[in-house]
Symmetry: C2
């Protein structure tokens, strides 16, 4: 029978619609991915075309006379601009702030045909390190209120350029959703004297049913009230409100965790379109005891329809416990070996 579940942290309800349920295997959609080469002459993100992008902000390795692995550039079609001062206008019901903000693109690799799921962990670590560096740099600007780090992979996930890249958008306001999630977490802390995410992780580690992988510093799991099939969260095991506070040893572990979760989705679900995003406390709240940052991966296997738009409530047709069991069984190390062998 179907079940309505409430997300403990966000208070959002989801319908786990087991009447329409699909076994995890049924969600595999073998889609035609265009064969692409590693270097595309017309791609602005490919090596040799560096002059086609706006001036570079950062690169890794930092030495300029070796080929780059990762580059950070301003988005050429930025949603927000760093060249204005944020000014708020309130005129009765019309309230606005002009378009101040930061919109970076992180080019993840020189290789046009590469995917994060198949990269060596050390390359993924370089990308995550760049995220952290830019996150902390942008956080220093007092005009910035919130930063969203995200990646779009595939058409259904909203990507427009196929060269592997992620993005960072910093806004002069905090969204209602982010603000309210903070308030829920604060209220829980005031009531119970502990971080609600730490509490939830402790319970999940006891129950085991929604856990996918546990490493020294991180836990990957399917959330109890997961809004979509195979939505996967990665949480740091120690309490930490801001992604900007990840330590060096932890970053190595996070790279392993992220890469292996993406590889499980890649192999298990036939390279699905997906987004990922990092939900972190803003700089001004980096030290708070009540919030806990996490990384959320959302495969885009279903479409948001009228019910979701009209109620704000999602329908998930795969039981999170079944999704976790399915992903636990995907043997990434063996399959990555096969994938590398097949392409070499």
């Amino acid at each position: 029978m179907s079940e309505l579940r409430q997300n403990f942290a966000t208070k959002e309800w989801v319908v786990i619609a087991t009447e329409r349920a699909r076994r995890p295997e049924e969600m595999v959609r073998h889609r035609e991915r265009k064969q692409v080469s590693s270097l595309v002459a017309t791609c602005p993100f490919c090596p040799g075309n560096e002059k086609l992008t706006p001036p570079e902000i950062l690169r890794s390795p930092a030495i300029t006379d070796v080929p780059w692995h990762v580059r950070v550039i301003p988005n050429k079609f930025a949603a927000l601009s760093r060249d204005v001062e944020p000014t708020r206008t309130v005129h009765r019901s019309c309230r606005s702030v002009n378009g101040f903000g930061v919109h970076d693109v992180i080019i993840e690799t020189p290789d046009h045909a590469q995917v994060l799921a198949l990269m060596p962990d050390s390359y993924v670590e370089e990308i995550l390190h760049i995220y952290k560096t830019r996150y902390n740099e942008i956080s220093l600007d007092p005009r910035i209120s919130h930063i969203t780090i995200f990646k779009n992979h595939g058409i259904d996930a909203g990507t427009s350029l196929e060269h592997p890249h992620s993005q960072m958008i910093a806004t002069p306001v905090t969204s209602l959703q982010v603000r309210e999630r903070f308030q829920h977490a604060l209220r829980y802390f005031d009531d119970f004297g502990e971080c609600m995410f730490c509490q939830m992780l402790e319970e999940e580690l006891q129950q085991q049913v929604r856990i996918i992988t546990v490493s020294e510093h991180f836990v990957a799991l399917e959330p109890y009230a997961s809004p979509a099939p195979f939505c996967t969260h990665i949480y740091p095991r120690r309490h930490m409100a801001s992604f900007g506070d990840v330590g060096a040893v932890e970053m190595t572990d996070l790279a392993y965790m992220l890469r292996s979760m993406l590889a499980k989705l890649y192999h298990g679900l036939a390279d699905p379109d997906f987004n990922f995003t990092i939900r972190s406390a803003a700089a001004e709240s980096a030290g708070v005891k009540y919030f806990h940052w996490y990384l959320s991966v959302i495969p885009r296997l279903t479409r948001v329809a009228g019910f979701e738009l009209g109620s704000g409530m999602f329908i998930n047709t795969v039981l999170p416990e079944a999704a976790a069991e399915f992903l636990r069984k995907v043997d990434v190390e063996r399959l990555n070996g096969t994938a590398v062998a097949a392409t070499s």
Copy 2:
């Protein structure tokens, strides 16, 4: 320059990204619609196949010996079931209610190839009347907390069956989003002694720039902080919290308004995929002075990507004022005449 706008009623921020802006005309996507016939032998919603659906709840006209125009049936693959009693379970961080609820399908016409945008107003009125009848019937059940009326048109809007239909899902809980919107409206009422929607409508009618059409009883407009291109709201002009309270004369006018807005989108944007939903106060709050029901039409011209998922903030690439101007100019009466002539 881009601008961040805050929705006065919901407190949600959107980025109106004029740097990436598109002129309204650029959003037209001529998609291949399959030619379909008016009667499809394998369609469970077509006349002659009534026995393939679960037992009918309601039909219009109510007389059984004339052909039906509209039928209401339980969804065969319902997300929620009316055959259980709602029971809440709270076990530490895991909170749930079993899958009690109502999930109706409203078959809008016997004609498999018809679209609401091209129907006579009187047919649309019959459908809206059925919505109201079922809405008020379901509202009588004290186990129901909230009802969502919605329609999915086209693949990108999440539809799975092409025969024109809409749906109604009633849940034993109220979603966080709905609850919070009520609270914002209540707080405004407590501060200013008036309905924030009535106040906003008064301002919009003065400013005119986002108004599409005004009829005797309704206003159609593009919201100031519109989350998506051509998102269109229809509000009753008199204060009314619940859709269930629409009067007979108002219903005739609403049918005209909805049909003509859908026709403007159909002709102006080449039959885009869209959802619509009715946002109404629940039965227990039908008489409140602080909430105002409305119908929201959301054309699905863009995709939700990682930024939206990670921040809860939307990016809209069409200025609402430009969308309103574009839709004002689409001459539905002339074009509907052409469409009818072309198909006759």
